[in-house]
Amino acid sequence: MTSFSRDNFERMLQRRHPYRLPFDIAFTRPVNDRVLEHLGIGDPVVAFDLDFRAVAAQYKDDVAQWRAAYSEHGIAIPAGYDIGWCGNATAPIDRSESAQAHHIPQTFAPLSAISSVNDLKSFPWPDVQDDKAFDHLALQVSKIQAEERVAMGLIESTAFDPACSLRGLDALVYDLHEGGEIGNWLLDFFTARSIHIVRQFCKAGVDVIRLGDDVGTQRGMLMSVDFWRQHIKPRLVSVIKEIWNSQTRRVAISYSSDGDIRAILPDLVDMGIDIIRPMPPECMPIDEVIGQYRSQLAFWGMIGTQSVMPFGTPEDIDGQVRHLANWVRRGASIIVSPTHALEPDVPWDNVSALARAVRNARL
């Protein structure tokens, strides 16, 4: 089956008689453990014959320098928090079986009280052009493609999300509203990082690059379209242009945001986005969106993790997959995936029903 993954994905994107539905799925650790328990295989990509494997930049950072800088600025990082790349502060995820949220760490915005760009610049920002972060990439991509799977470069926190993590949503919004330099500096820094990463992804020959920032909510945009166009769109455009400039063959560009982002879909189409994900059916009327944009966009996701995966029956899941397959027969380009990493409340029967339904779907 996997011998056709890349070709099939390309056919799906080009609406050129794909053989089957491309399939992607992400698990939290407890669900991953169940995969091993039920199927005897620890790697979900192999266990479910998934079509995609992810690659990412591996920046190394001097955590001690960040801790020292926080201390120097009088910033108290909560006890037990880890410091990650660019000084990101997160609580360790509770991996115990009884924990309820396995894919999202508690965060602390360490730069929320910084009041000048000069102060901001004094932190030990890493060199985003550091090519060592990509030493592994070409080999990894070639191995994935040798298996005929689709190599996807992940950079779904493109600019807004990482700036929010460090500054905090409220402080970042105040900065941008008041024309403050701090918010713009952070957005520019992460945009420069993203530009370098996509350049390296293209160089390594990935098949698809997944960009994104969470700009949607359950009932619409997090921010106005004007705000998005002013502060986020131009940065995203510069990242997309870098992909166009760097690609040696056509790289598909995906844009991810949770929530309802219908208001910016026309812009995303104009900007050259090929794929929208994860299209949560609890937030967006997916049939309406697919019907309207099927000639311009491909759609990745649509199996709801707030609805059918935890609460539906295997028959419900089968019905949803058949429905999506029907859209493919009507000319839409679809990659089936749950809309988020599966949490432990998803019954195993539903996980296996999804895999079965995708592989049995007639196109």
């Binding site: 309820q100 949503l169 919004v173 509203h177 945009m221 106005s224 705000f227 935890p310 949490e343 432990p344």
Partner: protein, 208 residues
């Protein structure tokens, strides 16, 4: 006497410099404290209405809430000195196991804007902490938020624990996967699909 409608406009527009200045001027001009408070609350009510109808979005709410907060910092000491306190106290938190806070924070801001005394317990809050806070602050209302389907059972557990504790408090629930049916099923008193509705429902619950 000041024209307090200008203060209301400053809150609506999130113009904190004007809001703070106008609050200060109203106070030094001897305006009625209740009237100043009402002008601020009216501004946030309007923000809530426009947020609910998607005329404005989270950034505008945050900016207006900051103007409200800074104006209240001027007004609150005078209110306290005059023995005027918020009529109702609400305890709010994201349920145990859930770390999401944007929705919960928005509701907290909107409730403050509606002149509730808000005790924000943060995220990943155990039922015991909620009950302790209700007792300590003599709260009239509890707001529980959850974003993950995996934490919906924790919301049910929190409601059950609150009921079992015997504290006399109304419970309002909300969050992305939460529905009115689920709220009824777990015994909550109210459900709000968004932050602006949370103000309306909260007012109804505490008035009942």
């Amino acid at each position: 006497m000041s024209d307090l409608s200008i203060l209301t406009e400053a809150i609506k527009n999130g113009n904190r410099a004007d809001a703070v200045r106008l609050t200060s001027e109203a106070l030094s001009g001897g305006d009625d404290l209740h009237a100043i408070l009402a002008a601020l609350v009216d501004g946030m009510d309007d923000v809530g209405r426009r947020f609910k109808s998607n005329e404005i979005f989270v950034p505008e709410v945050l900016i207006a809430a900051r103007a409200m907060k800074e104006s209240m910092a001027q007004l609150e000491p005078k209110l306290l000195a005059a023995g005027i306190r918020p009529e109702f106290t609400a305890v709010i938190g994201t349920v145990q196991g859930d770390l999401h806070d944007i929705g919960k924070n928005l509701v907290g801001m909107m409730w403050k804007g509606a002149n509730f005394n808000v005790v924000d317990l943060g995220t990943n809050v155990s039922p015991e902490r909620i009950i302790d806070a209700v007792r300590e602050h003599k709260a009239n209302l509890v707001g529980l938020s959850a974003l993950l389907t995996t934490t919906m059972p924790a919301m049910k557990g929190a409601v059950q624990a609150i009921r079992a504790s015997g504290v006399n408090v109304k419970v309002l629930v909300g969050g992305a996967p939460i529905t009115g049916d689920f709220a009824r099923e777990i015994g909550a008193d109210g459900f709000a699909p968004d932050a602006a509705s949370a103000v309306e429902v909260a007012r109804q619950l505490v008035a009942a």
